[in-house]
């Protein structure tokens, strides 16, 4: 079933990508074409085939030690904030969260 512009608008809303009317049309066309390209995946008989999420053979249980690193990777405050668009003192700043009418989490 083809995606409608409403469907695509919903995805864009979720993915936080603002699209104007024309972009929405183009994106809808693209997504429908792209999904058609993926059809071979749905044509397979895959019963009993395990998925491979990680192409790493039998590698498992990779863990690190609970030891503080205060020098090698720890970021000084000015590095932490260096690329931020808005800061306030030692904090990152964001505009009103609920102004969009969304609820608290």
């Amino acid at each position: 079933m083809a995606l409608s512009t409403e469907d695509v608008a919903g995805i864009a809303d979720y993915a936080r990508i603002a699209l104007d009317a024309q972009e929405l049309e183009e994106m809808t066309a693209y997504l429908n074409d792209a999904v058609r390209l993926l059809e071979p995946i749905r044509a397979y008989g895959l019963k009993g085939v395990d998925p491979t999420y990680h192409p790493i053979g039998d590698l498992s249980n990779v863990m690190g030690r609970d030891v503080v690193d205060a020098s090698e990777r720890a970021l000084p405050l000015d590095d932490a904030l260096r690329n931020a668009g808005s800061v306030e003192g030692r904090y990152f700043r964001v505009p009103s969260i609920l102004g969009d009418g969304e609820g608290d989490r």
Binding site: L59, G64, V67, A80, V94, I97
Partner: protein, 515 residues
């Protein structure tokens, strides 16, 4: 609104809990080596990983995995050898990557249970006949003659995840998000190892919910995996509750409660919500599936948001994290690190030391108290166990800092009848926080009571001679007069320069009067 006992006559409350516990006793975060923050300045403990910088990659903290396995073993969970981390996506700036690294359908720990003991008036709140058709995993409830019962509360899962950043909301009232015109983010907490425990909806009363949380907290404290502070938020609990008519099998619509930061809040929020839902339903209304905020000051819950559709978090296995296939050795190492848990400790105190069950439970429930008790017991000897338990349960909570050796010393003095319970308070007051020896305080203040019959017998003789009226009254059946006579003995002995033990005077007087 009707009261809870009234409501629970007609309605069965179906309650489930989600409990988040930060592994505060670890040194570093879940997926990087940043120091765990306690009261550090904002954004002091961050690195590319926990700040979600492009190009950073996670590495799981081995001790965090060990801790959650310990938590699972201690709550009778099945340890799932094979599991993975997943990415759970939602756009919110407290998650540096806009996804949370958490677990998928299979958690490290699945299908456990904790047994709750409920007695007294609260035991009557649970319906004798359950509404829900028991599924094949429902565990039976054991009831005693007196109505008290043991309820196994099933745990669906405990999974490993990372905590979010802290946000400060400015411009609104009371720092709440509503009405704020900007917010500030501190990523110190972001990436703190967090375990989330989800119960099956097996709880039926607010008291059971409170007891479950208390027991869980005691267990995690005993494991040493967290400081479990509800006040500071290192242990957080969301409760969900729905009502159904007694005897009904279908579940009602549930609401979820947030902002619960004490055991009392948990109990009171559930109590309020049960009564509120009953009122809505009894008036023919509908309960909406929504998240509600507990306001402790006003003792009520208010709507935070209505859930119209299920959130779609686009969960998928995290490709940056290798899957887990925990070995026997790993699980056994975790098991070997589990100390004696509160229930086992309580039972041991009862069976081997003869403590009263409530005292034993109270001491065993708190690791610090239990440790102090056991150290003091080593010093004072097992014969004083009952007295020591009495000291620990009834006296020590009033003092800030009494050591095990001081507690042992006070218990020994009490057991030897050298001081009274009232004097024990005076002694503890004097030694609290000072490291002084209680024996020395007793001697210095002349508190030590004589228990030497040879010294006290003549005093009794004198008092009986002096008080013929009271002697006659006693023999006429007025037993109360004995107290007066003991007092006279105490006075007389003091005048003679000794401190008689009132218990012994009591014994000697009776012996004489009833001879």
């Amino acid at each position: 609104m009707r009261s809870l006992p009234e409501v629970l006559e007609d309605w069965e409350a179906v309650i489930g809990l989600e409990v988040h516990t930060e592994l505060t006793t670890l040194d570093t975060k879940m997926f990087c080596n940043c120091r765990l923050s306690h009261d550090d300045e904002p954004n002091a403990n961050v690195c590319p990983v926990c700040l979600g910088l492009p190009g950073a990659l996670p590495v799981p903290n081995r001790r965090a995995i060990q801790s959650i396995v310990m938590a699972g073993l201690a709550t009778n969970c099945q340890i799932m050898r094979r599991s993975m981390f997943y990415r759970k996506h939602y756009f919110y700036p407290d998650m540096a990557k806009n996804f949370q690294t958490t677990q998928g359908p299979v958690a490290f720990c699945m299908h456990g249970h904790l047994d709750l003991e409920v007695a007294g008036e609260h035991a009557r709140e649970r319906p004798r006949r359950e509404g829900g058709a028991p599924d094949d995993r429902t565990l039976p409830i054991v009831r005693a003659e007196d109505g008290s019962y043991v309820a196994p509360i099933r745990i669906l899962r405990i999974h490993m995840e990372e905590d979010a950043a802290k946000m400060v909301h400015a411009g609104g009232a009371e720092g709440r998000i509503a009405g704020a015109n900007e917010s500030f983010i501190d990523y110190n907490r972001c990436g703190t190892p967090l375990i989330e425990l989800v119960t099956e909806p097996d709880l039926r009363t607010p008291e059971e919910a409170r007891l479950f949380m208390e027991k869980l907290r005691q267990t995690f404290l005993a494991l040493g995996i967290s400081d479990c502070s509800l006040e500071s938020g290192s242990m957080r609990c969301d409760g969900n509750v729905s009502l159904r008519r007694r005897g009904e099998t279908r579940l009602g619509t549930k609401t979820e409660m947030k902002n619960i930061n004490s055991f009392k809040s948990l109990h009171d929020a559930l109590e309020y919500e049960i009564c509120r839902q009953a009122e809505v339903l009894e008036e023919g209304g509908v309960v909406f599936q929504e998240t509600r905020h507990w306001e402790p000051a006003r003792r009520r819950t208010v709507v935070m948001r209505v859930k119209e559709t299920a959130d779609d978090y686009r969960l998928f296995p995290d490709p940056d994290l290798a899957p887990f296939d925990l070995s026997d050795a790993f699980v056994e190492e975790a098991r070997s690190r589990i100390p004696e848990l509160p229930d086992a400790k309580r039972d041991r105190f009862v069976t081997t030391l003869g403590l009263k069950r409530p005292d034993a439970a109270q001491i065993a429930g708190d690791p610090a108290t239990a440790a102090l008790f056991e150290r003091a017991l080593d010093l004072a000897g097992e014969k004083t166990a009952g007295t020591l338990a009495n000291v620990v349960v009834n006296l020590l909570p009033a003092y800030a800092s009494v050591s095990a050796s001081q507690a042992a010393s006070v218990a020994r003095l009490l057991a030897a009848d050298a001081i009274s319970f009232a004097q024990a308070r005076e002694v503890l007051e004097a030694v609290d926080g000072s490291g002084r020896d209680p024996e020395a305080v007793v001697d210095e203040r002349g508190l030590r009571q004589s228990t030497d019959e040879g010294t006290l017998r003549p005093v009794v003789d004198v008092v009986l001679e002096r008080c013929p009226d009271q002697v006659r009254q006693y023999r006429d059946g007025n037993a109360k007069v004995l107290g007066f006579l003991v007092g006279q003995c105490m006075k007389a002995s003091k005048a003679a320069g000794v401190k008689g033990n009132p218990k012994l005077f009591n014994q000697l007087l009776r012996g004489r009067l009833e001879a």
